[in-house]
Symmetry: C2
Subunit: 545 residues, 2 copies
């Protein structure tokens, strides 16, 4: 009887707020003696790390940081940034990690918009911060982290009045369990989208989503206990795709290199027996290029997640040959990172390697913690057919979708229209339900009434041996409306002519999809390495036909 069932209420034993802080209790209880951190000569086990996290949280509170306060961190991937992923939420604060490659003006905008009450900065970035405060016309309290593995001799500008990170560690702590938030819907982090145009938007995550992201990642990536994880994904992207929280759950060892230089990463993989890592396709490409031809293949294979852009099939082929088991995942800052994965299907084994690579470059199917990922025709409101042809917009629904945009109710309402989060990504769906991104919707080229996917043409360009990087944008055309225009960055020493590039594309694509003109130049990129297509579009507009 309903009333008898409903009378059974929540209590401390049977209801616990979902929060990644739980995983610290788990780590301390079950993995305390295991190595948590490897960085140069530094080793810390989970018990030591948990103690530090507790101390830093107390130190933050002693400095007046409390529930709902934004604290900004400006740091490369270091053990301090890793522990702050826990210590800031533990103090009640919301962690706001900034892309270290942002220009001062944008940082100033974010600090102001985010109502940031404190900045924790790696010493290397303190001169930038001084510029930022000058632009901002005011200061914010600064905590400075000095990384003994940093090779520069920068000093922290005196104007910042920075206090050392060590002062946070001196706080008195109790040694009870890690406390969880009152409400699992409480904010845990604030991540500004890099945005290729316009002001960045502040994406707010909550504890419930962060917990489910971590548990779902372990389930969906099949992460075993005690992996050795190489910290490559910048922790300023979606809190490192939620991986720091995952690592606490499974008692992992995380290996740091400060910078993602390929030689450092490859050396760390070999020295510490790395089993797992996540990285953008461009990093995988660099690793494949840096790896000597006579190096032995990694065996057992290294489990790699890749995301951020559709990986060129050639990169998948080459990294597989190295012993990387690459799973492409798809997601956005607004979805805590990955919410779909290109799960390998054994039936693909009978395909040629290049076809396998193409299949692996699909965005795939929903992660288990996601309620639904669907592709809709926005005009009819219906899901597209599973014919690999009809294109629609990817929409997502689930508990790992952001709370909303900070102080931006209009953008929030727009993103959540009709009960879905709208990605802005155009995709088709294969008969087996696997999605493949065709384009950011605004990147579609419409030529003579036909849609041309810039991603598809770019994939062909990347297969040309002389091409290092490539982008396709629309160029206005009197006859066709738009035609594809290629911007190509050649490999050092390599040569290719416009005619040759166009011919190569025509060999592999329907004629109307091949670029009508090719521009050879270095490509403009955002601070996160995304090619700034809007700039190329401007250039294309001014080109004569």
């Amino acid at each position: 009887m309903l009333e008898n069932y409903d009378s059974l209420g929540k209590n401390q034993a049977n209801y616990v707020a979902l929060s990644p802080l739980s995983f610290l209790n788990r780590a301390e209880r079950l993995h305390g003696a295991r190595t948590a951190i490897i960085y140069g000569d530094l080793r810390r086990n989970w018990a030591e790390l948990c103690d530090r996290i507790r101390a830093v949280a107390s130190g933050l509170k002693a400095k007046g940081i409390g529930k709902g306060d934004t604290v900004t961190v400006l740091s490369p991937n270091t053990p301090e940034l890793f522990e702050l992923q826990f210590a800031l939420p533990l103090s009640g604060a919301v962690i706001n990690t900034l892309n270290t490659r942002l220009e001062a003006e944008t940082i100033a905008y974010i600090l102001d918009h985010a109502d940031s009450k404190m900045v924790i900065a790696d010493r290397e970035l303190t001169p930038l911060l001084a510029q930022v405060f000058q632009m901002l016309g005011r200061s914010i309290p600064v905590i400075e982290v000095v990384d003994p593995n940093a090779t520069n001799d920068i000093t922290c500008p005196a104007t910042l009045n920075a206090e050392p990170y060590a002062t946070l560690l001196e706080a008195e702590t109790n040694h009870t369990d890690f406390g969880l938030p009152d409400d699992e819907w409480d904010a845990i982090s604030l991540n500004y989208t890099s945005g290729t145009s316009g002001r960045p938007k502040g994406v707010v995550y909550h504890h419930r989503g962060a917990y489910l992201m971590a548990l779902g990642t372990v389930a969906g990536w099949q992460v075993p206990h005690y992996p050795v994880y190489l910290s490559v994904v910048p922790m300023f992207h979606c809190n490192g795709w939620g991986h720091p929280w995952v690592m606490a759950m499974v008692g992992a060892t995380t290996v740091f290199t400060r910078t993602p230089a390929p030689n450092l990463l490859l050396a760390a993989i070999r020295e510490h027996g790395v089993t797992h890592l996540g990285a953008a396709p461009v990093v995988l490409q660099m690793l494949a290029e840096a790896e000597g031809e006579d190096e032995t293949k990694f065996d057992p294979p290294i489990n790699v997640l890749t995301a951020g852009a559709p990986p060129p099939p050639s990169v998948l082929e080459r990294t597989r040959a190295m012993g990387f088991e690459v799973m492409q995942v798809y997601g956005l800052t607004e979805t805590y990172g990955h919410i779909a994965k290109c799960l390998w299907q054994d039936a693909w084994l009978s395909e040629a390697p290049s076809e396998q690579a193409r299949l692996q470059a699909q965005q795939g199917i929903a992660f288990p913690m996601v309620e639904a990922v669907a592709v809709f025709d926005r005009e009819t409101g219906k899901e597209v057919h599973r014919d690999s042809t009809e294109q629609g917009e990817i929409a997502i629904r689930g508990n790992t979708v952001m709370k909303g945009y900070y102080k931006d109710p209009d953008a929030t309402a727009e993103a959540f229209k009709d009960g879905w989060f709208w990605s802005g990504d155009g995709a088709v769906v294969a008969p087996d339900g696997y999605m493949q991104i065709r384009d950011r919707l605004k990147d579609v080229i419409i030529s003579g009434g036909e849609n041309i996917s810039s991603v598809e043409v770019e994939a062909v360009l990347y297969r040309h041996p002389a091409v290092q990087a490539a982008a396709i944008v629309a160029k206005p055309d009197e006859k066709w409306g738009e035609v594809p225009c290629a911007f190509v960055e050649l490999r050092p020493e390599a040569e290719a002519s416009e005619a040759e590039i166009i011919r190569f594309c025509r060999e592999h694509l329907a004629g109307f999809k091949a670029p009508k003109s090719v521009v050879f130049s270095e490509l403009p990129k955002t601070s996160t390495g995304k090619i700034q297509k809007f700039q190329l579009r401007e250039t294309a507009k001014t080109m004569s036909n």
Copy 2:
């Protein structure tokens, strides 16, 4: 700023009630064409199964079943029971699956106590149901399932006025997504504990817990996509340890054999390429005994969860030799099944096989979805030391702890004292944090001020080649207060004397732990196969010293 963060609310895109019904949406969308069910000649894919579940839920509603209504199911493991694990919650009902080996009187008690509005019964069990209704003095609407693979020629008593299950399937359905509960705290199932004494208690689960149990099981057991799962765990135990829900999430094929006869199970494993199963230690023992010596070892190994009683090390040794990768898990009906697992540690590889088996027989560490499993000295309220010696009671906290006992506020309050769920199981904790059960607290024997674990002595008895089953209980003793008394069931044809058994125990145990007397007899068991120690205690009391 807190108010800015708090102003971001829940909506359909970013908040979804946690419920295992979500996994049906996933299964239909992503695994539709994959085989879901294998039973004799029957094959159903996930799309067909989802259609049936939708129809059955509509059929139930058409019969007046709605939110918060208890519906009882009395059935062995069949595809119908599997689909009812979804269809009943989908209709809003609470699924109450009964142990098929219960006696009529207990079933009558449960139907009445549970406010059951309908009984869905396998034809084989309908004569029992007629008895039950006679005892109850009233009838409840009955739906009869006719299993074409049942070999008996039983007819359903006319007094039941049973309607065929097929009528449920004829209901009209819509083909929209599977709806989720309004509130993830809503009840999903009601499982009565078998209880070796007293009336059974009704344990209520909610959707949130069932969802987290499934996701946590995938994470903690590392279940891949598309396993082939053999349905052995009775679905009347903790909803089959939540495995039906797991299987929808990962697009599994579930293989049914109706009865757990070892020859049927072994044949199904070989014929269908089973990759995963769960079973009580006694079933594993039967499989090991039925498996021919010249059979090839299963390779790749079969992933097995075992629970229900601490597995005798000998069973672990023998099943490992067969190619079973056995992980022992620990839990209770009140915790949705497993909440701790004996995770294998590579360091154990250097131990002798018998020591490895002993280590594997520990209850281990918490599953990832569990907030905490701790062992407390109930007098001091402190956790016991990690010395493998100090004994306390296992307590559990987390989202996979029951809502409470149905219509039993006193027992609920008692179980949830001090913010923990108290298991009633006594255990010690090893230096590495692994728990090992010593006893149900009431099964501890206190002899001359020393605690003797009946489980420990029983483990030794099981190593004696003539012993089929054994139990140790306390016998009153003038000098020592209590002494251990052994009840032993010998293998067919095997012989052993009392003196020999005692000598064997003294060779492997401290003298005070060896039984002082041995009774050879068949052991009294509950309908679920648990040895009824309370009866043995009664017998021991009446024995002369």
